[in-house]
Symmetry: C2
Subunit: 115 residues, 2 copies
DNA sequence: ACCAATAGGTAGTGATGCGATATGTAGTGG
DNA sequence: CCACTACATATCGCATCACTACCTATTGGT
């Protein structure tokens, strides 16, 4: 993780949903997709991802099916229709959040220096 | 707060430092600057800001001085040199973080750059 | 006298990502 | 046959940190 760990709080679910938008994946593959897709910025721990996946499944945003491939059990997660809507919401939230932070952080000294 | 509260985690300090870059402010004024500067997205509570300011002061990123203006006590916070460096770090961290999230979320909802 | 706005503050809570740890299979090197 | 590594899933306790709720106090308007 090249950024402070807490920074991800509140944004993880959206990332996981976005990865699953490109087709079903199992946990390990999701971790890799996030790592490569973020250019190495996010290197999630399994203790981060699996609880998050269970949470998303309880919320009805993803569904899972067990597979056994080469004697190795895999649980594949897939976006539900509800999850697709949630992803849309996440994108809107992110756009507003990122816009607000960027405007404050990068914002050149706006003239509202009221005194 | 128009975004989920947890979303701010890990990014608040940078916003406060950025506001103080435009000159010393007291707590209430900081809250207003964040609200207007974020276009209303971030409406911070006093219980959010004051502990954060104390934390930043303990870390040496800001300094405070008491004033009494019209019988009302105000505590004005000011960026230190160390805080200015920290703000630079925060900006770099935010750029990397936002880039990674945007790249994963895919939605090209967020302006590519300035220029 | 009362009340809203301003101004500063603390305590407790809850959500959640992380580190550590456990379990198990499959393949490789010695 | 054993050690080791990579793959794969899972759980638990911890620490962080913003939030809610609450408190005190002054000013100025009604």
């Amino acid at each position: 993780m090249r950024v402070r760990p807490e920074a991800l709080k509140g944004h993880l679910d959206g990332l996981l949903l976005a990865v699953l938008e490109n087709g079903p994946r199992h946990g390990y593959a999701i971790i890799e997709a996030v790592r490569t897709g973020s250019g190495g910025t996010f290197d999630l721990q399994t203790g981060t991802v699996y609880p998050a996946l269970h949470r998303l499944e309880r919320a009805g945003f993803i569904e899972s099916r067990w597979h056994v491939i080469g004697g190795r059990r895999r649980r594949e997660y897939e976006l539900t229709a509800s999850g697709r809507r949630a992803l849309g919401d996440e994108r809107a939230v992110w756009a507003e959040f990122a816009g607000a932070v960027s405007s404050l952080l990068g914002g050149r000294t706006w003239p509202a220096d009221a005194s």
